[in-house]
Structures are given as C-alpha cells and as structure tokens.
Subunit: 140 residues, 2 copies
C-alpha cells in the first residue's frame, strides 16, 4: 500500500513541496504503471475532485526531473510514466495495441552499454525497446 505519508516522504526526499496534486499524481503513477497523461489526469481527479491538466503536466515534469518517476515514449505513442526507477529495466511494446510490459535485461546489469563505436559521444544510458505482439492481440 502506498500511503499518503509514504508518498509525501518521497517528495520531501527530493526536496519537492508536498501538495495535493503531487500526492495524487504520484499515487496514480504508482497504481497505474505505464499510464499516459490522460489516464493519470483521470485518476488524479478521481482522488481530488478537481485538478487542472496543466498541473498534472507540471507535476509529471517535476517528478521526472527529480527522478521519482520515469517517462517513457515509444515511437508513435504518447508519453507514459512509471514509478519503477533506478533499476535497469526495459520494455516490451505491442505493435498493434500499444500495451507495455516490463522486462529485465538478460545480458547483465548494464546491457549493451558499450557501443562498438561511440563517435565521441559520452554515453550514460542504454534504453532498449522490444517490439512484438502481446498475447491478447495474438489471439485475434
């Protein structure tokens, strides 16, 4: 269970002020993994009664910048957010319905992080997206 006290603690931990919209958005991201902004907006309103969509956008940006949530955006999809941060995991995305599931990389802690030729870039993260078909879409 993610209590408000717990969530408030997370916010204080990254020196963000504790506000109702932030608690609601944070709770929504925790209980709806890979939700898009609109779903998070709905969930937040269900909790508070009224929040502006702008506030949700602002909060999501602040939480992302603080590292409390992670923003993911596969090609052709709107932005989605998840609360699982800090570990090294990736995503499988369904080509036909857009469903997303978490995947731990099989190749070790830091997968593919060493590119064969980095063109002088300083690489700090390797993001992997697996494309395929989800069980539901395979059935039809």
């Amino acid at each position: 269970m993610t209590t408000n006290e717990h969530l408030a603690g997370l916010l204080r931990g990254v020196e963000l002020r504790v506000t109702q919209p932030r608690l609601a958005v944070l709770a929504a991201v925790h209980e709806l993994p890979h939700a898009d902004t609109d779903a998070i907006l709905d969930a937040s309103r269900a909790r508070l009664g009224q929040v502006s969509h702008q506030a949700v956008y602002d909060v999501l940006r602040a939480l992302t910048a603080a590292g409390l949530v992670r923003r993911i955006q596969p090609s052709g999809s709107v932005a989605r957010y998840e609360s699982r941060v800090g570990d090294n995991h990736h995503h499988v995305v369904c080509r036909s319905c857009g469903a997303i599931a978490d995947v731990d990389c099989a190749v070790g802690e830091i997968p593919c992080l060493t590119a064969s030729e980095d063109h002088g870039f300083t690489i700090d993260e390797a993001e992997v997206v697996y494309w395929g078909t989800c069980p539901d879409c395979k059935a039809s």
Copy 2:
C-alpha cells in the same frame, strides 16, 4: 552517387509507382541521414520546386511500410528517417542537442533480443537507444 535510375529501381523493387515526389524524398533521405520531416520537405522542394507537405508525409509512410526507409523517433524528438535499413544498427542520441549517430551493436548480430521474461509477447525486434552527450555539446 544515388541516381534517379537507381532510386527508381528501389521503388519498383517494392512495387511502388515511380513519381517525382517519391524520387525526391528518397534522395533526400539518402543524402540527409536522420533528417526530420521538415528537412526532408525542404530538400525535396529544392529538387522539385514544389511538393506539398502532405505528399512528403504520405511518401515517407509508404517508403517506411515498404521497408525502403526506417523511421526513428527518440523520446522528445520529432520523427526522423534514415535509408540504412535491413542491418542491425542502433543510435546514439545527444541529450542536449538531439544529434544522432549510428552505432553497430557490440553484443553480436541480435543484441538483447532474448528478453529474460517476455510476458507472453512475441518479440520481433529489439531497438536500442544510447543516450549521452555529443562531442560538440561537451565542448560548451
């Protein structure tokens, strides 16, 4: 040199009609790797004098569907296109300026394609994006 005859051959090879807009767009993608739609539109107009942006969008979609070009879209970026297809290569993206460079995966021909737990998905492609800082941005 990518001549019009060569490009026309590519189009016929995938059973697409050979039209001026298609030749221009295909040439633009070949000479401007990782260009966005707007840059491709400009390059196409430089070649033909006049093309509608809608035609460029349509052509890019047709070429992508036919497998002649590949669409890439790192988070927070607009769609970009490249003519290098069919091989297994990935991209480094600069966090501050958005520059993109090609990278061959170091881990073998099919990198990370075996996810540890696929949640029942049928995976057909693994896309890797390396995030970092390009040489130019490191300098400033």
